[in-house]
Symmetry: C4
Subunit: 278 residues, 4 copies
């Protein structure tokens, strides 16, 4: 959808998703850092959070596909008509949504069923980002230089996010890697907005899409977005951490009391579980 | 062989091989998940399956080379004649078959001889895929845009498969990685069919090989094939898993009885083997 | 700043930083090699060194940004004026300084607060180098061949350094990796000087920027700088190592005496710490 | 040196070096597989072999540099003369030799001094290969298609070898990786000969350097060299393994006798060494 709204909608989605991941990962990290070595049981809250996240991904991508297909000037589920392809742009966007939906399914399945191997959810999100970047890459041909350049910069965030998720298939529970991925989602989201502002300005004159200085500014602007994304991750993480810490202060006294009584019986079991998981 | 059949034959091979790998890996995974920690003895069934797989790879590539060489308009084992190369296309295809044959030999050797290091079989399949992609890459020059593009998309599947196999030299028994490789083989197979359908349509008019919209559709279509390949792997894996589970239900009662009697004598030995293998 | 000084200043910075890292890493390595297995407490000297390094990075980048902005022909904090961008070159350099400042903040935070995950400092320096390379990459378009080539060679050092730092997020305390990064900083520094000498010669005629032989010489010269950087790292490392060894010779006798008395009580605790850290 | 000899000399060197590495690695592997878990003392024979290898590398590269400099039409150590660079080709070759000499120094040092970290020797050989590829890459511009293509194929072997060595800095004693590197050296050597045969044929007419079919043949031929290199590594490895096995058959009886008596005293020490090394 070649207008400001068409860039603001995915931008908002990726911004929200990025912030959500930041909060989720910091909660996981907080939980891990407070656990004694032997325990690895995920609390039910995290399981519920993953179900909600997966469900929203599925719902969001379903809505996205429907909108792309049945919008007034959409293809209405027709692919080929009168010897030409119908609205391929909308079909490509539907395909991108499809893969984010698949990653939602993968997240729900890997949370709900023990049979599904850990890592499948990260692989699915990595594939979804790869497909997004892959389609964008061939999207961009034969456009004016500024348009092509500003979309290529998006690809840097997309493919870096894909590589990050792929690494997480093998290196799990690494907070630096997890927050790097969150930051790349935020970067992607804010850059979608920037694309909207540059190519379809809400007010003022249109940008000259051939001027080299515009390209140079846009490149630099991408770095500023990167700095802002890093700052957002750091601020959100700190705020979440200290909020959780204060809230859990009161509960801990009770918890410690409970742990003392149960530790004698559970310590041996926890050790066994630990060695089985390694 | 520039016709539909010439793309359907390798397509069928890669499809079958991909499904076969899916089933094999899920059987391995099932076996591993049911074993107590200390045991690492591969059951004779898996050894036999690897022999058959290696043998079929060798046989298939031998037949492939023979067909490419001695087909009616083939080079009949002549390489250089009358100051020009004879049917280089057929020679290149023979070379590709040769490397898949080598990977068959590597599989049989690494299964049969303890001396051959584990990982050689994965390295060989990685090299075979690399050579396939390498030859295709230089194959494609000076073709019409659609032809070149549709073959480049194949390279994505081929090189991703090669990278996946290379990783498996170092990271073994990771089910996510194993099934990713299976999925990439299935993707390659179904894409070969797609190439056949696009470049040599069985019915209807020829595709316009210069039209940009065709390129855009083909790019999107590749993503759909990827989604279908993922779905195939998931379905095949689940079906295999539940079939095996039901079948092994009855046997288990007997097995447990046997294990109880033998566990006292074998546990110490298994532990030793485990520590040697790490 | 397109003159000799504009290349000598960053060159000197990177040279000094590279030598500093070499000394720091070898001191860390010396300390690690002398510790009994169980101890992992960083001595206060190293913590102080990291504070100073982070502080200098922040101070240096602040000065750098101020100079770039408020130099006589600088943009004076104006970005857009009279329908055109103001001094984008200076803005880009400010952006590069900004990210090195951020890496200084990350270093100080990760040293001072236990909450900040280890690896954040390396990720920040990796991002800083990536941004530097990223901006340089789009900097170089539409320049004469020699100018473009000599800056692309710089990118080799910059991106290799970025990749090296990224690896260190996951592989910590590997002296080979650490000194490789130090060497790449030294290479970057000396190559900045070389760029200055070639493009803005202090004496003698200007270089012909179109001549192919000049490009070939410059490529080879980069390899010589690489050899010199390796030599510098090796010499600095050896000198530091032997200096520290001689200095600590006298202290050791006392230390051993102390360790003997304390070992009985501390050995059990040290073991626990070790197992917790793994 | 643009003649057949100029390609046969490095070709022979790389072939010999590749075979030497194959034998060395298989001897190491044989030794490791025969050792009880706790022992990690390298036998003096391997240390001596590394000294000889490093010495030969240094000697060879010294001779290489001298020949390149003081051959009849060489630069005789003049770099710049009469406003132009003198024989840059010879200088570039000297630079390549220099880095192989450095890797010889690194090998000797890391074998002789315990202070030098393990992995330095592999890093040095990786850098030497990188520099070789790096110089070749810019070497090739403005040549006829066949000449450029045949040299680019060489780069595949060179950079793959460099990546392989770099991996070995982190993953040590992996026989598959070690023999892959040996194979890539053999491939490089045989491909140097092939370049000589194609560009400076000893007999018969010159190759048409513009014909596309020649490029296609050369690409395929590279794959055949790869297959031959793999075969060479496999044959050399097997022959070495069985020769060593037969030779050590007699000695073993004595060794076992010795080990039995010494095992009681040494087993505890070996275990300690093992845990220190991990």
């Amino acid at each position: 959808m070649a207008n400001f709204g068409g860039h603001a909608i995915p931008g908002s989605f990726f911004l929200l998703y990025g912030f959500w991941l930041t909060v989720k990962h910091i909660l996981h990290h907080y939980w891990r850092s407070r656990q004694p070595k032997g325990r690895h049981i995920t609390p039910p809250l995290f399981t519920k959070m993953d179900y909600v996240e997966g469900g929203l991904l599925m719902f969001g991508s379903f809505v996205g596909i429907m909108v792309e297909q049945f919008v007034v000037d959409g293809p209405h589920a027709h692919l080929y008509n009168d010897n030409s392809w119908v609205k391929l742009m909308n079909w490509q966007h539907s395909t991108m949504y499809l893969f984010f939906g698949i990653s939602g399914v993968a997240l729900v399945c890997s949370t709900g069923w023990k049979l599904v191997s850990t890592g499948v959810d990260h692989l699915a999100i990595s594939v979804a980002l790869f497909v997004e970047g892959f389609l964008f890459y061939f999207h961009v041909h034969n456009r004016p230089p500024l348009d092509a350049h500003i979309h290529s910069l998006l690809l840097v965030a997309v493919f870096a996010g894909s590589a990050c998720s792929l690494l997480e298939v093998f290196i799990r529970n690494n907070i630096v890697l997890e927050q790097a991925r969150s930051g790349l989602f935020i970067l992607q989201g804010s850059w979608f907005y920037q694309i909207g502002f540059v190519l379809y300005p809400l007010s003022g004159p249109k940008w000259d899409e051939e001027m080299h200085a515009n390209l140079m500014f846009v490149t630099m602007c991408f770095c500023w977005h990167l700095a802002a994304a890093l700052l957002s991750v750091v601020c959100t993480s700190s705020m979440t951490w200290f909020t959780v810490k204060r809230c859990s202060g009161r509960e801990r006294d009770i918890e410690i009391g409970m742990r003392d009584t149960s530790s004698n019986s559970s310590s041996h079991k926890a050790l066994l579980e630990d060695s089985e998981e390694d």
